[in-house]
Structure formats: C-alpha cells, structure tokens
C-alpha cells in the first residue's frame, strides 16, 4: 500500500474518531455547531500556514483559541445568543481570509487536504488525537452531568469552570486537527454528524460515545478510500461518508 495513503488513513481514523467522541459531548450540549464558526475562524491561520509553508493545524490553533475567547467575551458583554455571536465571529474569519489568501490556495483552506500530510505531522496528529481521547474519557461523565444541569453538577461539588476550560481546550484542539482533514468550512460536520448518527442508534451512553467514535473513524476511512479511487478532495468525501451513515442510522433509529 502507498505510504502516503497509509499516513492519511491513520491520521484520518485517529482524528475522525476523536472528533466523533468529543462530538457526542458537544451534541448533547447543543454546541456541535460552535465547531463550525470556530473552524471558519481558523481560516486566516490556515491561510498563513499555506502561504508560509507550515502545518495548518499550528496555524489554526491560535485562531481557535482567539475565537473561543472572543465568543466568551462577547457573550459576557452583550448577553446575545451564542448563535448570533458565533455568526459574527465566523463571518469575520472568512472575510479576513479572503482579503489576503491567494485564490488558488483557497481549496485546501476551505475543504482541507489530508492527502499530503507529512510523517512528523501525522505522528503529532495521532498522538494529539489519542491524548484528546484520554482527556475526554476522563471528563466525559462530568460534562454529561453539566450538560444535563449545571446546578445539579454544582450540587455534586463539580468544579464547573475547570471542566469547562478542559472541554473548550479539547474543542480547540479537535478543530485545529479537523481543519487539516476537512478544512475550515466543514469542521462542524466532523463533530456533529457521527454523534448524530450514533444517537439514532444507541440506547445508552456507552453505545452513544463509542458509536460516535467508531462512526467518525469509519467515515474518515471511507472518505479517504473514495478519494484514492475517485481523486475528488478527501474532506468533502469524509463528510459525505458520515452523512451516508447518518442516513442509514435514521432507518434503524432506536
């Protein structure tokens, strides 16, 4: 098997699986779409990475952190709904990007390009995805309780601020890793669709969380395999593969 293809596949399965797993938490907090605006906001970072030839995830990461701080600050100051604030933030991200990103490089920024991932990048992505999985597994029951009711979680003496910070940090990492695979435009789908499909198929929390992770991994492999066969960009194919699984899950909904 072609070495480059294998690298893409390994990164795809790791990041897709971790995104699905974290997505199952985000979906239950109605935050899955937040990954979208954050993904869009990474576009200037991706543009810089493409123009100066460094890893897009490194370019994206500071912009996600900036986006999270911005949304948090806006929410504190304005009390506007989260959707409105994220819309402001993501539109600004896209606008800034197209001021200076050469149009021929726009495709990689918008829909990702995992087919050229290097060996070191691949190792870093896989290690980060694995660490992220461990962190999310640790905080999972706490965040689920917070998702159900912050008051209930507080009454159980959970440190809400601490867990929120870890949770948001995890979202920032997954968005930074995800943009490499599916670009700034499609990151929300990477976390939302596998979790939505898993929710249709599960009757308990373990089935839901593990199911979202497996569906995330399978979608990525299917997308990357289809890219190998058809030559279409892998990012959109990954998302379409997860959409196909989601459509099938509706038939078997529990």
């Amino acid at each position: 098997m072609d070495h480059q293809f294998l690298l893409s596949l390994i990164v795809g399965i790791s990041v897709g699986g971790a995104a699905g797993y974290l997505g199952s938490l985000m979906l239950s907090r109605r935050m899955a779409l937040v990954a979208g605006p954050l993904g869009h906001l990474t576009l200037p970072g991706i543009a810089l990475a493409l123009m100066y030839g460094f890893d897009v995830s490194f370019g994206a990461f500071p912009f996600v952190i900036f986006g999270i701080i911005l949304i948090w600050l806006f929410e504190m100051r304005t009390k506007l709904p989260m959707e409105a604030l994220t819309a402001v933030v993501f539109a600004s991200g896209v606008a800034i990007t197209f001021l200076f990103l050469p149009i021929e490089q726009a495709e990689a920024a918008l829909v990702g390009d995992i087919s050229r991932v290097g060996f070191v990048e691949a190792i870093i992505s896989v290690v980060l995805a694995f660490l992220l999985f461990l962190v999310v597994r640790k905080i999972y029951p706490k965040i689920v309780l917070m998702n159900i009711s912050e008051e209930l979680a507080q009454s159980e003496k959970l440190n809400i601020k601490k867990y929120n910070l870890i949770y948001l940090g995890s979202i920032a990492i997954i968005v930074a890793l995800g943009v490499k695979m599916v670009g700034g435009l499609l990151t929300a789908a990477l976390v939302a669709i596998p979790a939505s499909a898993a929710r249709n198929l599960s009757r308990n929390l373990a089935q839901y969380a593990i199911g979202a992770m497996i569906i995330g991994g399978i979608s990525s492999s299917l997308g990357i395999l289809t890219f190998k066969i058809t030559g279409f960009p892998a990012g959109p194919l990954i998302i379409l593969a997860s959409t196909l699984i989601f459509s099938i899950s509706i038939i078997f909904r529990k």
Binding site: L27, S28, L205
Partner: protein
C-alpha cells in the same frame, strides 16, 4: 438526638442582576423536620434552595450541621432527553455503585430490570421517582426538593408525596420542599415558610397559614379549606 439542628439561616439576603430576590429571611430546621417553602411564582423559592446549596452568592448566615450530607432534586432537567441515557448511566454520573443504584431504585418502587430503561422513554411520574432515587444516592440526611410534582398528573402527584412521606419515615430524613401547592403543605410539612421575596409567615402550617397571611402571600383573596377527616 431529637431537636438536633440541621440548618440555621439568619438574615439571608440574595440579590441577582441588581434585583433583590430574598430579603431578611431567618429560619431553623431540626432533624426530622419537613419544611415547606410556599409562595407564588417568582417569589424566590427555587433561589432559596440553590442558595442553601451554595450555588448562589448571598449575604447573611447559612449554617449547616457539620458533615451533613445533602441530596438535591431539581425542578426540571429539560436537556436530559437530548442524551441517550439509561437510568443506570444516570446513576453512574453520580458514581453510584451498581448495588446502591438497584437498592435505591427498589426503594422508590422500581423492579431490578428497570435500570436499563432509557430516560427518554419514562413517563413524567416515573422520571420524577427516578430523580428522587438519584437524590437518595449516598444516603443523605437532608433532601432538598424543588417542586417535585411539576408536570406530573394528579394521580402520580399523590404517589410522589406518599413516597416522600414513606422515605422520610424509613430513612429518618429531613426534607426541605419547595411548592406552590397548599394541600401539600398541610399533608406533609411540620413547618412552612411563606415567601414572597420577604418572609410572610413561618411556623407550623396549622398556626401560621391564616387567610390574612395567604392574602399577603398571593396578593389577592385566597380560599382554601383544610379538610379534616
């Protein structure tokens, strides 16, 4: 250990968003008491429970007995049905061991196999009983209930209050209960606080729930006849 104090509250004042929610409230709860917090919507009842739990900043004094274990049953959990959670999962979130989950569910009248049921498939009455069981995990000495029968039909409501009375007896519980239902106060409580931001009355319901105090509490003419069978 009768007359042992569980909670002392003195001159409690709570302000939220620059608005006064509770003013100058003082009361005491003794072991085995069932204290009802009665008042109209927006009177500060739920805020009082959350303040007692330490979830809201306040001025004044709240003193719980040392090493007291408190269980809390909230009014609603609107987002719980967004998550594919079965009852066992829900108890696992609290770190409840398998045997305790089973025993607690049995104590509120559910069979062993019930814990595999999805939360989203429960009726509102069943869900409320599950919440009560959840509050009982860890064997608390005090239970705080925020309107335990919200959204529950009348027959299920009766079951829930009978269940609370039974659990109180069996487990030697002290209960603080928020309600706007007067019949519950007479049937269930040893003391009542009438709250409409300011305390209107406080004491045994038969003594302090007079037509005048109820009128002050609800701001209009309130007719209620306590049936004595």
């Amino acid at each position: 250990m009768e007359n042992e104090f569980i909670l002392k509250v003195r001159n409690l004042n709570v302000r939220l968003d620059h608005q006064s929610i509770i003013e100058n409230l003082s009361f005491e709860v003794k072991k085995g008491d069932a204290l009802t917090i009665l008042g109209p919507n927006g009177a500060g009842k739920s805020v009082l429970l959350k303040t007692l739990l330490g979830l809201i900043p306040y001025k004044g004094e709240i003193e719980w007995a040392k090493a007291i274990k408190i269980g809390y049953v909230p009014q609603r959990l609107p987002f719980i049905k967004d998550i594919p959670l079965n009852i066992r999962d829900f108890f696992n979130l609290k770190g409840s061991p398998e045997e305790e989950t089973q025993a607690t569910l049995n104590s509120v009248g559910f069979r062993d196999d019930f814990s595999r049921k999805k939360i989203g498939d429960l009726s509102s009455g069943q869900f409320q009983r599950v919440l009560i069981a959840w509050g009982l995990v860890g064997n608390p000495q005090v239970l705080l209930f925020d309107e335990p029968t919200t959204g529950v039909d009348i027959s299920a409501e009766e079951t829930i209050y009978n269940l609370l009375a039974k659990l109180k007896e069996e487990r030697d519980l002290t209960i603080l209960l928020v309600t706007h239902d007067l019949s519950v106060v007479y049937k269930f409580s040893t003391d009542v606080i009438c709250l409409n931001r300011q305390p209107i009355c406080y004491g045994p319901p038969q003594e302090v729930l007079t037509p005048e105090s109820l009128q002050r509490l609800y701001g209009g003419e309130v007719k209620y006849y306590q049936h004595k069978h």
